[in-house]
Structure formats: C-alpha cells, structure tokens
C-alpha cells in the first residue's frame, strides 16, 4: 500500500486536514537547520540573557519575599536551582536539538503524530494566553500609576476597582493591536530593551539600599536577613523553604528545558555545549534580577505591584521599564498563542485569531490572582507541557537501547501515538494524585513527573511495538476520492 504523508508530499492539495493545517503554519521550519545557518556563542549569550530578564522577574522576586524565604535559603536555592536548570538545558535539550536540528514541533510530530500534536498546541496556546495575561497585569500596574489607580494586593483575586479594569483593557488593547500590526518590530524592541532593563533592575535596587539601612557592602547581609528575606511570610501566605526556591529556580522554565521547547533555539547551536550558555539567562535574570526585585519590594514595605516598586527605585524610568518588560514579554507570547490557535480556524486571517487570543489574554489579565499566583501558574505551565519533553527524550535515547524503533508514529504514519498520549495525560493524573494524597506541592512534582512520563512511554512503546498495535494512519493515496 502506498501511503502519503501530507507533511511530506510537495504536490499535496491545499490544507484540509488537521495535520495539513498545522504543517502549513510551521512550513518555514520544516527542514533541519543547515550548517550555514548555525550561530556562534554570542547569539546564544544575547538570546538567553534577553529572554530571561523579562516582566515576570518583577513579580517573582517580590513573591519570594512575600512567601517568607530566608536570605540564606534564597541565595543558596537560586545558585543551585539555576545550576540544575543550566545542566538540564546542556545535557537534556541541547544534545537532541543539535543532533536532529529540528524544532519541538517537527520532532514531536514524528514521535506523537500530528493529531496529538494538535492537542498539545492548543494546550500550549492557552498557557501562552494566561502567561501573556499576567504580563498585561504587570504593565497595568505601571500605566495606572499617574492616574492614582488602586493597586492590586497580594490577597486580591478579582478586579479591585473600575480603574484597574479600564487600565487593563487599555493595555490589553494596545498589546493586541501591536501584536496584530507589527510582531517583528516588537521583537526588535525586545532585543534593544534587554540590556537596559537588566541595568534598571540593578540600579533601582542599589538606589533603595540606603533606605533599608545598607550604607556599605558589609551592611548588606545583615540587612538582607533582618529586613528583606526575613523568613517570615506575609499574612495568609504559605512559607517557602530552601527546597521551594531550588525547585522553582530549576523548574520555572521546565517547558523550555526538560519539556524540550528550546530545541527551537538550540537547533541553531554549533555544539551541544552551547546549552551551558543558558547560564547567562539564569544568573542575570533568575538570580540578579530576582534579588533586585526582592530588595525593591522590601523597600516598598511589602508591596508586590511591580509599577510602584520600580518607580520607588528608578522613578519614571522604572515605571517605563515595567511597561516595556510586560509588553515585550506579552507580545511574542500572544503572537505564539495566535499562531497555535490558528490551527482551529484555518480560514480566519491571522489578525482575527490574534484578536481572539488578545481577548482571552486581556480577560485573564483582569484577575490579579494571575499575577499574584504567578509562581504557582509558572509551575503548572511547566508541569503540563513537560511530559512531552520526557517522551522526546525517551524516544531519542532510550527506545533504541531497548531494541525499539524511534519515531514510531512517523514510521507507521500514525495520526495519534497512544503511548505518547497516555504518557502525557497519565503523568498529569499521577502528579495530581500525588499532590492530593501526599500533599506534595506543585513545585516539586516536575521531578517525579519526568520519570513517570519516561517510564510510561517506554513501557507503552514496548507494548505497542511488540504487539504491532496501530491507530488510524494518515490518509492514503488510494483512499483519496
């Protein structure tokens, strides 16, 4: 029987099926990256440093303070957690990215089949919408400053004033319009803003240190312990320990490293060792910037709202920094969400899909809970997408060692890989059960979850390949009308 993979046949008719629609959107990245387009170290240093000094950093640092992290736990937890994140990029993501030279989309398509990939894309799009929503909330706290808007507080879950609703709508409308009009210009602005944003973080923190009683470098540590990271959580907030900090720092980008999303970036690396360059993002963004924003929140007497705390440290430039940080993070995220959602309604123009994504995002941004619970959301986001990274890892390295075939969905032209689907959903259910039964918090579920997903996929792949179980295949040439 001659079979025709719609993703491969150049003479295929216009996209009709789910698989064809998805492939058409990702057409540009179909081929492995050629040698001539590989990038040097400088590109990766800039990329990682820029990507991880973002709007989220204005919220995460203050939330550690609110959760009563002690100074020693914070510094040690961040040092080690970020190291584990760098090692995950270097030893898990980069080796597969530099061998396949494909992005996550095409690699996962081979392993999971196009229909399962569609489901993954939609989940990813919704997560992107919520992430962009939290960044719109962040920007709104700065835009509302000159209008005397009532700022959301740590315990706020719902919109706290009409002013908040208006400002969020305004920021959401601007971000959505710009995402529709000029994504590439925003991407350029993001690149330009990155070094400046990092310096604003540092400068703002340094400028408020005297108000906390730090007059010399030697004063810093005692003040850090007694007035910044005191070890006492805010009222009604659970306390974080060293382990919370370590696991959060390791897994806040879980979707990117062990979830394999950064294959999209690292496929351009000349060597797999470039994965270590993620250290520039981790230690500038997730160490220095988190510490800086924590200092700012202590100087602001515990206020969490990013706009006011940045203004306190850096004046108008600080408020502008919060707007730009939120905007440059929200914009590409919204664009990616729109791209993923376009697979549902392929006849819609890109602007219409981005508008829908913008509406979802802005509606989510109305709820300050999204920003105030950012640590939990980021952990959930990574956890939901991570099992597919484990599936790619197991498929690439472990299945061949067990005498099984790699990329079985592509080999058998399956639309839907049952082992990948069960590993994904099964892992999430198991993590949920682990949380419910043992009380293990969401920040710690990624590690057992990764092993669960890996083992499930290996076991189910073994059963599938030994029994020759098939699920529906791509349409065949003979089945065409």
């Amino acid at each position: 029987m001659i079979t025709s993979d719609p993703g491969i046949d150049a003479a295929a008719p216009p996209p009709n099926t789910l698989a064809e629609r998805l492939d058409a959107l990702n057409e540009f990245d179909r081929e492995p990256v050629p040698q001539s387009r590989l990038q040097g170290k400088g590109s990766f240093i800039g990329l990682y440093a820029g990507e991880h000094v973002a709007g989220t950093e204005f919220v995460i640092g203050p939330l550690f303070v609110a959760h009563g992290v002690a100074a020693g736990d914070l510094f040690l937890g961040l040092l080690l957690g970020n190291l584990l994140a760098v090692l995950s990029w270097a030893f898990i993501t980069a080796p597969i990215a530099t061998r396949t030279r494909l992005n996550l989309y095409w690699q996962l398509r081979k392993v999971a089949g196009p229909n399962l990939l569609f489901a993954y894309n939609i989940v990813n799009a919704l997560m992107f919408c919520f992430l962009a929503g939290s960044m719109i909330s962040v920007a709104a706290t700065a835009v509302g400053l000159p209008f005397g808007m009532r700022m959301p507080e740590l315990a706020d879950r719902y919109p706290n004033s009409a002013g908040w609703v208006l400002v969020v709508f305004l920021v959401g409308a601007v971000v959505t319009t710009l995402a529709i009009l000029g994504f590439s210009k925003i991407a350029t602005l993001s690149k330009v803003a990155a070094p400046w944003m990092f310096l604003v973080f540092v400068a703002a923190a340094v400028a408020v240190l005297p108000t906390l009683g730090v007059r010399s470098v030697g004063d810093f540590w005692p003040v850090a312990q007694e007035r910044i990271w005191t070890g006492v959580p805010a009222e009604g907030v659970r306390k974080f320990t060293f382990w919370h900090v370590l696991f959060f720092a390791w897994f806040c980008n879980m979707a990117m490293h062990i979830g394999m999303a950064d294959m999209t970036i690292l496929r351009y690396a000349r060597k797999w060792q470039y994965g270590f360059l993620s250290a520039f993002g981790m230690y500038l963004g997730h160490f220095v910037a988190w510490i800086a924003s924590g200092i700012l929140t202590a100087a602001a007497l515990g206020s969490i709202a990013p706009g006011p705390i940045a203004y306190l440290g850096a004046g108008v430039a600080g408020a502008i920094c919060v707007v730009i940080a939120g905007w440059t993070t929200a914009n590409p995220t919204l664009y990616r969400a729109g791209l993923a959602l376009q697979t549902i309604s392929p006849n819609w123009k890109r602007w219409k899909v981005t508008l829908v994504a913008g509406a979802i995002t802005t509606s989510a941004a109305l709820f300050p809970a999204l920003m105030m619970k950012l640590l939990d959301f980021v952990a959930l986001y990574g956890l939901i997408l991570m099992p597919m990274g484990a599936v790619i890892f197991a498929d690439y390295w472990l299945l061949p060692k067990l005498g099984l075939r790699r990329e079985y969905a592509q080999l058998q032209r399956l639309l839907f890989s049952v082992p990948a689907a069960v590993s994904w959903v099964g892992t999430l259910i198991a993590c949920w059960a682990l949380n419910r039964i043992t009380g293990l918090e969401i920040f710690f579920l990624g590690l057992p979850g990764w092993f669960m997903a890996t083992l499930l996929f290996i076991g189910l792949s073994y059963a599938q390949q030994m029994n020759g179980v098939r699920t529906p295949a791509y349409r065949t040439v003979e089945s065409e009308p």
Partner: protein
C-alpha cells in the same frame, strides 16, 4: 556614524546605572538619580535601535 551611535548608547546605559551607585555612596540625592536615569533611557532608546536591532534575526 555607527561608532558615534554606539558611544551615545553606552553613555545612555552609563547614565542608567552609575547614578544609582552615587546614591548608594551618598554623593547625589535620589531625585537626581531618577532624572539622570530618564536621560539615559532616552539616549539608549533613541540610538540603540539604529545599530543593535540590525543584526541577523535568525531566531
């Protein structure tokens, strides 16, 4: 021309961060730091896009 643009950009970055160190050292008041930082911000965004955003955008 490009070199001059870069010099102005880096002066902008300098004005973003150095005044904060002077506040810490007690040499200037916070309000001066905030104003200088704003000047640095304007210099950076007026000049950096003319050279920094023009490199290869492979990613």
């Amino acid at each position: 021309m490009r070199s001059w643009l870069k010099v102005i950009s880096f002066v902008g970055l300098g004005l973003t961060v150095v005044p904060a160190l002077l506040v810490f050292a007690g040499s200037i008041p916070w309000a001066t730091h905030a104003r200088l930082m704003m000047v640095g911000t304007v210099l950076w965004f007026a000049t950096a896009p003319l050279w920094l955003g023009r490199t290869d955008g492979t990613h």
